[in-house]
């Protein structure tokens, strides 16, 4: 089962890497869908 545990470890690392990469590309909805004239969520700056 060593390959199983190694695969889970690599999967987790790849998931964290994907999260970091996505966070540099994607923006929160309140920023992504806001315009200079409108904010989606006024509660957040």
């Amino acid at each position: 089962m060593r390959m199983f545990f190694l695969a889970v470890l690599v999967m987790a690392v790849a998931g964290v890497g994907a999260a970091a990469a996505l966070n540099t590309i994607q923006k929160p909805a309140n920023q992504a869908f806001a315009t200079p004239g409108a904010r989606v969520d006024p509660g957040e700056e």
Partner: protein, 346 residues
């Protein structure tokens, strides 16, 4: 029952729709301008001009007649000009109805079939029991890429099912707070673990493609029920017909899930709202089909067949098992061992 507040909402919606529509949708409705006519209030009093309390206005009727409502806007985001999109209702109705039945059919239906099959056929055992000799079936890298794909797939499937049926099944069991936390983490897991899953699919494609090209041996394997139906053992190479079918389901299904998933992960990058609704329907439908197929794959690889799990555990399988289920592959491997290594003349 009609309430004054709902009447105000109805009137506001009507005004907004009148402003946005270009004469298409509302012009067809007989009640497009009844608010300008003399009418009666809830109390039956006659009124003149606009009357937000008109009893003749019903929100559902109004919404039913408003189909595609789109107009002109002054803000930069052109997508905001769409107030009502008819396909969105079709998509919502599909999610609320047929999708639930399809989910039940795929998951519960396959589970029922497997239980029934187990009760009828029982566990497929190695004839005469396990032997002493083993043969290496999958190397370390093959097992690694299989487990990475399989593990991420299981998390993706469960987190995806939570999107479809979690609110109905899980929420009543664990409560609002726990369900919210779980769904939030499930959503993160779904987005982030899609990448190791896609990487695993690509790796398996590269490593196992050559051995998964269908041929006449597979046709014969299927004709004989693969040894699963009945008790004979049709000849098979390293991957039998059933395994090749699973391979192509994963390749084509996994590829389609990756493409549709990326379309959903990056809204409006490559498609509009209708395209994303279509991508979501395809993503869910393909995933449910794959869930059913993988349930069968997991069953036959674990409880359904003695000795099968060894291939993904240690990589080495019982030689008797290998001869029963992959006789041509064993012959090829034996021939490699028997063939003397030739040395070039010095």
């Amino acid at each position: 029952m009609f309430k004054p507040r709902s009447g105000v909402i109805t009137a506001a919606l009507l005004c907004l729709a009148l402003c946005l529509s270009q004469g298409g949708a509302l012009a067809q409705t007989p009640s497009a301008s009844p608010s300008q006519q003399g009418s009666t209030t809830r109390e039956g009093m006659p009124t003149q001009g606009f009357n937000p309390d008109r009893v003749e206005l019903h929100e559902q009727e109004l919404l039913g007649k408003l189909r595609n409502v789109q107009g002109n806007i002054s803000i930069p985001d052109g997508r905001a000009s769409v107030l009502i999109q008819q396909q969105g209702r079709t998509w919502r109705d599909y999610r609320r109805g047929p999708l639930l039945w399809i989910t039940a059919a795929c998951v519960l239906g396959m589970l029922g079939l497997l239980i029934l099959f187990y009760l009828i056929r029982g566990r497929i055992r190695i004839e005469g029991g396990r032997g002493v000799a083993t043969i290496l079936r999958f190397g370390a890298f093959e097992r690694f890429m299989h487990w990475m794909t399989a593990t991420s797939w299981c998390i993706l499937a469960l987190s995806g099912l939570n999107v479809v049926v979690g609110r109905r099944l899980l929420l009543p069991l664990i409560g609002n707070d726990a369900f919210t936390t779980f769904s939030e983490w499930a959503k993160f897991s779904h987005n982030f673990l899609a990448f190791p899953f896609a990487a695993g699919v690509v790796l398996m494609f590269l490593v196992w493609l050559r051995q998964n090209i269908p041929n006449r041996i597979d046709v014969e394997w299927f004709k004989q029920g693969g040894g699963i139906i009945g008790h004979n053992h049709p000849a098979a190479e390293k991957f039998n017909g059933g395994q090749k079918a699973v391979f192509w389901i994963v390749m084509l299904g996994g590829g389609a899930l990756t493409v549709t998933g990326l379309a959903l992960m990056f809204p409006f990058y490559v498609t509009d709202i209708t395209g994303m609704q279509l991508a979501q329907v395809l993503h869910g439908g393909i995933a449910l089909g794959m869930i059913a197929a993988m349930m069968g794959h997991i069953y036959i690889g674990t409880v359904g067949m003695e000795g099968a799990i060894d291939a993904m555990d240690t990589g080495s399988v019982d030689l008797k098992w290998a001869k029963e289920h992959h006789s041509l592959w064993v012959e090829q491997e034996m021939a490699k061992i028997a063939t003397p290594i030739s040395h070039p003349a010095e």
